[in-house]
Symmetry: D4
Subunit: 256 residues, 8 copies
């Protein structure tokens, strides 16, 4: 249950269409809770922070991922499992057959329709090079699972500015921009100087020598001379998408 | 000239109220440009990125700050000078008599009316302790200069959760939250778990030993378990406000 | 032999029940010593620092671990081997058949009864997320091997404060709290603001990007705004338990 | 009001000696609260975490320190201001005439009697060299202000073990040990191998070259081979004392 | 004496215009050597590495700087003193009256004519912002003292690409480019993508928070996706100029 | 197509030997472009920055490397793939049969004749020890693929200066020097003191303990007391060669 | 040939027992030189720095190691190959059948008699724990190969001072002490306070969390409060032995 | 009293020239001890570690320095105070009138005759540049105070190898070499390749940008390819001298 669903329910109570006890039962049934001693599903997170709980696959067993995914699916939420290595994907697919695993971004997703909130526009997901695509795709698939439209603008690093400038129309249409880059991490600054919307920068662990791990890119982004840039953790495409999705919403959810 | 002003101008041209050549002259006159060999005023930044140029006072002389502030003022923009040490404030005040210097945040500001964009709501500027106030105030005054309403929620660090929870109504009304914290930087995670809007975290250089300089807080914020948190550079209250202001806008500017 | 055992022995000498030479022999026999050129068993550590020697399994061969475990067992101590990878577990199990290997925490333990000291209460072992459980379990099993009661409070991270607050009664009953957390490491600060007992914080190497390795959590904990928090090394569940066990004792050991 | 005071009050209500409304008034009057927009006094912290609020002087003006100290004094608490530079001391002294400023540790303290809790023993405050004394004294004065007995064992670094061993009787009598050291930070490991009580290690920013700032000592302490050592932030004598004081208490407070 | 001078001398010996002993005397007289026990002037450095010795002013007294400058002047070299704080400038000026102190770059220079080598073109000295000018000027003045033509292109950071692109003609005429930038250090990558000559990047210590000290810019430059970029130490305008001057030479020196 | 080829074409147009439309077609045909959604070939990079695009093999699949190599080959460029692990080499060899894989440097190269630019001389590629050879060879093969002559001077580290000095004649003949070194990275400083040409230093990740990863060498090189040294990223033999090749050119390309 | 051998040779020339041309031939034959393009044997290193060349096995192929070992053996030197992984050992053993591989320290050694220099005494090789033994053994075997007597004092870490003090007689007999320790690296400071000879400290990469890699131990040793401690790189048992061997010599070599 | 003095005393007891009780009194009188609560003089350190206690002036008041210096002087030791800022020098001079303050190295010294041990030779104190002289002088004066002969070889950095090679005779005569260098710290490696005695490397905090603080030099020295190099803390000229003095001694002290 998300906030729109909750409001629908309460409006039906107010309209006398639903008994308060039935509504209470429905709300309680949607709350999630412990799945054994080792897992806790938070079914009301969509009500509290606007987007349902997402399963972080790293450090969980295939079985744990599958049980959480199945429970979120059962509660009627979109299902998203991030950082899911390929060897755990089958178990999750079996638990949520309607979902799909993407090996590039290591995500498993089952989408449940469009974001009910009115939006500023599509989210532009921009990346500097081919090696940044996995992080960019984690962001793009997260956004699509939330139900927001995405424009992918890939392989437009600053060593050849003409590539970026040739896509400027797409970028300027976006409600929010996500920019993923490794190495020197300069792309968010350049994008930031060209748009009047929030830019969420996500450093990628792409590079070697002093650039390995993504720290050079992270520092560059934190020190961007374009003040419309904020930053998430290295490789955190999911977080970038989450922030962007919230910033892209311009009003309360429409009742379904 | 900002985008709203530009659109007004062009609409008047379209309506035959203004000759194209006059419009062109007005646009050119608003473009700014070099102020001597050492300074460049970018009068069209408001058109390009939505907010007028802001003067970063650190590393500039009092005279340079004053000349830039005067030029921005002359062009009709709100004037904001950040990181302006007290000894340079008089020169800027003399150049822009309508402005005001705030010693806590080291900002000089002259505001020119409300943000013409429709907004989600006020921006909550939240900070953990008394020592974080200078950074929080840099954010708050930046927002006020842009023309957005601000709610200050100060001294509500996680060591005493009751302080934060008692202000929850104000926080949940906000269109965007800015959270400034030093030391262990835990406050953005806690706030992030309570709201469904973007949270812009700004680490402050408050602490000693391993916390001096703000790195502990920065790392904590980048690793927040609340995915609606993005981060700006240590002490960058201005940047936090800039990002928040853009995220808080929900539509194109109203014509003035 | 621990301190209680030593005092019993000496009281029997005083009472004339045991010849001094027999007592001396018993003490010497319990002292441990070299097991070949490469291992040294310190049988009197329980007398000196209150808890018997524990075998750190990392960097030792299966055979070395087994020989040390067997010797400690033979001397009548509880046996604890930490950081024991699964491939070495069989050798140790064969040497100490009464013990048990736990794969999650990578510990092998044989417990020998309750801690003879009077205690403040149970030790609460709290962790932020599922991925922190291995470190938390190393602490919990260490405490149980020492013979102290443990309350596990798992998966209560700060992104959903309601989870922590719903377990507050258990936490407030504890004599000492251990808090394991990775990522931004904020949980010890929040717990520290809610209890009046020592909080031992243990950062876990859980996270990615800037959080990988546990440094972000470590820094957060060292900079906690809750002054009842002290910190052990990243991943050091054993050390956290050792410190907590000593702090939880409120008097000299009862004679057995 | 601390927990003992609260219990006395409630027992008087139970005994019919005090009207509930009067008790409620007294509790409310002791709660503290905002002192203007910039300061918040938490009068019930002693009830919640066992020790009254302490004023951290760094980053606060002399006036802010004085107002907070005066309010805590008015509420009947012991007063402790740490990190108070000498130039702010007069203002605080004027506000709390019964207190005393110590220039070595930069603390201002007014003590209000003994700790009402039964204790394990004195706290040994041990330091390696003369330059570590300011941090050690911050710990010692904090403990004395809380009302616990302190044994100072100063200038006993590991380069001359005979100095430490000659004070072993004092150290072994302690209920808890605090060990402050800079440079290579080896002293806590050595002390930890000699006692069966918790050792709280506090690195000091004493050293030069790679030791400047205290990081070498911090790392050494986190990696201590003595498992009864936990660590606080560099220079955090106050925190070490706070942790030690809680660990030293072995029962609920005696009614006054 | 530089290589051109040496060749002239030797050609005159060959032509019988100069006696070998006279030539030997002249060479020996130009060799420099110790100036007291604390200073060594290397008069033949111009022969060995192509550019005369330069005095690094930091860590030398005013007197030491003046003595070295005077000796280099006496030997007929151009004189350059870098990192010369203003309070030492008078002493050097008195020793080399024909020279001039520049307070922005903290350099003292006396130039002795054009570089005798044929050059590719002018050296473009490009910087991102006003605060980078001191480092850029150190490079520019070094080049001018060596006798090479300089094109200054200042305040063209990536947040406003139009500023850089409007100077592209000047940049593309250069034989070598020097690019100084602080903060995120993105400018060298962008310039590198636009030119077919070596780009020498010099990070500046301009920024705050994570950018303070210039490390973010340094890392960005080392990880530039433009492979024609090499890097010198933070703030090392002098070194950048030295490298650029050698790369700009396209043949052996013309005899004077 | 490179700049020489472009000029030939345009001269033929001018001479009436080629119709403008044919020339336009040839230019367009050489521009490269997207190879599917995941790859972009920049066929005009040789025109823009003087050297054709090079394929960075790390983070690309064998198929992606092969497709890019084949396209560059088809466009008539020299082909260079760097950081190509042995398991991907067959695919690239199949796509460009005229090329050759070098396992030491992990490069695949097909050379297309000499550099059309006049050069200062050969490039000396110098390395300190046997373990530095892979990085040195990446540089040497890159230079050879560009078409410049290379002198290899290997295993001449500073622990035995006689080895370096015995090769001084070769080193002094070079137009540019590349120096690869790990461990303490001292060799570039020593070489820099002996030559009057640019020295491009490339740290190698050779060493252990504090030297692992190449950071010690990188720092040494950035702090070289020889001012003719500039630095590229750790292990970046390709970048060193690229910078050196540009610096080694002393005029515009000769028409082929 | 070492210095003693060289002197013998020259004395024989002086005595007329050997023709100068024969001596010259012998000297030249002992000089070593290139073994193919990739290896250089420095046969005169023993003359120059007192100890023959040692082969660092890391980063060399089995064949390269074997060829260098065979050549050094052929020249009559002791043979030592360090950091030789087990899979390369057979090749080296085949090349130098009289040598022996030690898997713990990963060294291959063939010793050629006692050090010809008079010595202060044995070298004490001390280590803190079992995991430090591989590094300690690298030192011990290096010393034995040089021909110096070694006293091993293992597993005497500071958590149990009695273990160290019980071996004090052996330690005080030593001419030089080598102390290897990981974790907090405190042992060299304690040893340094007990002896009047040089102490060479070698940090080991033993530990976890913040101690992993040996940096905590390195910093502790660099900041030792015992001034007779100097330090070598993490894990550099070979270097520690080399330094110790030179310091242990008290006179020129005795003629053989 | 040092070891030679102690042996003289004991020999006189053995010879019947001194009553045991008188000897005991003399020994006790020389032991030093507490000077008030804040200072401890260790009069027997010369017996234990071979060199008398030295006063580290940093972090002590002028009065503390003076009292310790006076006591060491009274006990008949050489007096050395290091890191003594100029403003404290007068107090120490007044307390030990026979001593002398050196402002360059910030040392105060009173020497008491030659080292009674036989020595290998003079100690060469070598430094790379003028800015390294203060650290080099701390080493040189420490050695002179211990009573060992010193050869100063200053300003011989690797950018001009001829300077070093011209002093090679002096360097090769030395019993031990100390090499102080900042910036890239290459000099110890070069010296190490030329001598057969221990080389003690001391990094200096000389440099800027990445070299500031001396870390680049420290890392270079730890990674030296010359294995006869060991390292002390940044700026620790005193420690380098202490290590060198012990290594330079080749036998027990001669009776005075």
């Amino acid at each position: 249950m998300d906030r729109a669903g909750l409001m629908t329910l309460l409006n039906r109570v107010k309209a006398g269409e639903l008994a308060p006890s039935e509504a209470a039962g429905a709300i309680a049934a949607s709350a999630g809770g412990p799945l054994g001693s080792d897992l806790n599903v938070d079914g009301h997170r969509a009500i509290r922070v606007g987007i349902p709980e997402v399963v972080f696959g790293e450090g969980k067993t295939a079985g744990q991922c599958a049980r959480m995914a199945a429970e979120l699916d059962r509660l009627g939420h979109s299902v998203l499992v991030t950082r899911l290595s390929a060897d755990k994907a089958d178990a999750v697919s079996a638990a949520v057959p309607a979902g799909r695993y993407d090996a590039t971004s290591r995500t498993f997703a089952r989408r449940r329709g469009d974001d009910p909130h009115p939006l500023r526009g599509p989210v532009a997901v921009i990346c500097a090079g081919t090696s940044d695509v996995p992080v960019a795709e984690e962001a793009a698939i997260t956004l699509e699972t939330i139900g927001q439209p995405v424009e992918r603008v890939y392989d437009v690093g600053v060593a050849g500015l003409h590539r970026l400038l040739s896509r400027l129309d797409v970028i300027r249409r976006a409600g929010v921009c996500i920019v993923a880059a490794g190495m020197e991490g300069a792309l968010p600054s350049v994008v930031g100087g060209l748009v009047d919307v929030p830019v969420v920068a996500v450093p990628t662990p792409v590079g070697y020598g002093t650039g390995a791990g993504g720290y050079a890119a992270l520092l560059a982004m934190l020190n961007s001379c374009s003040p419309n840039v904020s930053v998430v953790n290295i490789g955190n495409g999911f977080g970038a998408a989450f922030v962007a999705a919230l910033a892209n919403r311009v009003g309360p959810p429409r009742a379904p």
